[in-house]
Symmetry: C2
Subunit: 346 residues, 2 copies
């Protein structure tokens, strides 16, 4: 069952972009910037140690959506940044490097079989290489920031990097813990996902040297967008078909990851259901039939729908944060991107 079946999000008004087109429209509007960013990415992930660009290319050049660097580019343009030195391009590349480093380290962690529809770098090259090339990309990101020369930018992205690691560690700590609670779960996704969305938008405003209120508006947009994005991702893990999502359904379930759909189904479950969750997610004792049963229980209690309701709330919050900017095509597009995040699976 695709999420689109559950998610009554886009009632396409005539003449209005449907949400899934928003990302394409953003790519189109930022085409030149994005191409420059891709060139910077390819040029700067090079190393005399050939395995580094080989492995990095496996993820970086695998044609991800480039959502995070697009946010940096869009934020800078929304703030009217037009300088010839194109600092936003360099910083967009930084953001993608940091994202790629976390993906590589996440591959070690998650043993995901499929990422973006490809065998994970980990599966092909092994744990060691994933950790070390991740470290290289992380260091290279900071080198790019040092070249850029802004201590404010460095501060924002260093802080985000520490927060990402904290979120990932917290996720590890609450793994298999069905009593972790929604507050802890939100803290995890704020860290592991939303912190980089927030920083990506924030640094775009910083290069444009805009007033504090605009910086804050963009940072809040990114933060809330990131939370919405992760909520949808966590819903998709129990709902999407593999072809659509480009990753295996049920990864989170098999790892005993505590996500909102699980927490909602657990909270609403009777004694027998709780025993099921305790065995499968709490103790990771699973049979082949368990994922289907988990999805059936989630359906019964509306756990996926409830997760998507929360996602839409955060997406709405993201859009509200842009009110500090006057109406413009870029602002409209960023608002559409927020809608896109909550309707991306068809």
């Amino acid at each position: 069952m695709g999420v689109a079946a559950i998610l009554p999000v886009t009632k396409p008004d005539p003449g209005q972009r449907t949400a899934p087109d928003a990302l394409s429209a953003l790519v189109e509007m930022l085409q030149a910037d994005l191409e420059a960013t891709n060139r910077t990415i390819v040029a700067r992930m090079d190393s005399p140690v050939a395995l580094i660009p080989q492995l990095a290319a496996h993820i970086v050049a695998a044609g991800g959506k480039r959502l995070r660097p697009l946010l940096t580019l869009a934020a800078a343009r929304l703030c009217g940044y037009e300088a010839a030195e194109a600092r936003h391009v360099k910083l967009a590349a930084c953001v993608e490097f940091i994202h790629t480093a976390t993906l590589l380290h996440d591959d070690v962690v998650d043993e995901s079989l499929l990422r973006r529809g490809l065998a994970s770098a980990n599966a092909v090259f092994g744990n060691k290489a994933s950790v070390l090339v991740g470290d290289f990309l992380f260091a290279r990101a900071f080198q790019l920031m040092v070249e850029d020369g802004s201590l404010r930018v460095l501060d924002i992205l260093c802080r985000a990097s520490a927060t990402i690691a904290e979120g990932e560690v917290l996720q590890l700590v609450i793994q298999n813990d069905l009593d972790a609670g929604e507050a802890k779960y939100l803290e995890v996704i704020r860290g592991k996902t939303a912190a980089l969305f927030e920083a990506a938008c924030h640094v775009g405003a910083v290069v444009a040297a805009r007033p504090e209120a605009e910086e804050r508006g963009l940072a809040e947009y990114g933060l809330n967008l990131g939370i919405a994005f992760q909520l949808v991702d966590d819903a998709l893990d129990y709902a999407a078909d593999q072809a659509t999502l480009g990753k295996t359904v049920g990864d989170d379930f098999r790892e005993g990851k505590i996500t909102l759909p699980v927490l909602r189904a657990w909270a609403a479950g009777d004694a027998a259901e709780r025993a099921f969750w305790q065995r499968t997610v709490g103790e990771l004792e699973q049979t082949d039939a368990d994922l289907a049963e988990a999805m059936r229980l989630m359906e019964r209690h509306g756990a996926i729908a409830a997760t998507l309701v929360r996602a839409r709330e955060f997406a709405a919050e993201a859009k509200r944060a842009l009110a500090v900017f006057p109406a413009s095509p870029m602002r409209a597009l960023l608002m559409d991107v927020a809608d896109y995040t909550v309707s991306r699976a068809r």
Copy 2:
């Protein structure tokens, strides 16, 4: 057999410090700075996510020699740095964080059973936590540098971090490759070990705002010291007894790591010996008796002694690099530290 048996390094002149005392003397001379550094380390590795300080403490507070931060402190003092703001203390903590992050990531990589005489963090907490807490410490190190506010310092330590990762990846690439050659091996240890020694010394000179020649002298001292240090480490892996070294003898052998003792024994070996090395290191097909045989072959060809000769050459180079400084107790001590690195196992 301890390395001391092979290594005729310290002919204790009456009235002169023996080399192993050099590190103790350095600790004593920098006692106040080192305590301040330890306080900074403990304060700044804290996080609301309790597992982070827990796991970090397992390595950071496990009482390593603190050689790298000591180098930063010593370099700053050698350059006459006395400022009340004590930037060298903060940067020494950075250097230790970066070192600890690489140790944590190395635990994932190396599956070492013992590090500094303790079960590795990896063995206790698992791969995931080691990767993620390493990431946190790495990010935290950069946050400390941003607080310090010097783009030159950031540049030096970012560059070093990228070089460390390159060295580690190259080590992975030449693993099991007996034909890798000494040049590649030296490139590996320059990256994975010496780059941080170099940067640790370099930033000490930078905070003191000394002329280029003194910065360069200290950077060269650190680089050559680091190479000597790693050469000795690689020799010890085939020579030290476990109690002395605090790690398992034969780790490198069991991993098929290409180090100078192996390359020398391989180069000098006859057909039967080469078949032995090809099987054990090249293809990692090992029996319990193989380590002893490896050590016997190294002994036959003087491979350990030859490695230590190279180490002493680099240590001598390190000492020469300090000639740019006038004689002083700190300079004498740093020279003794170079001797210490090549005589540290008893």
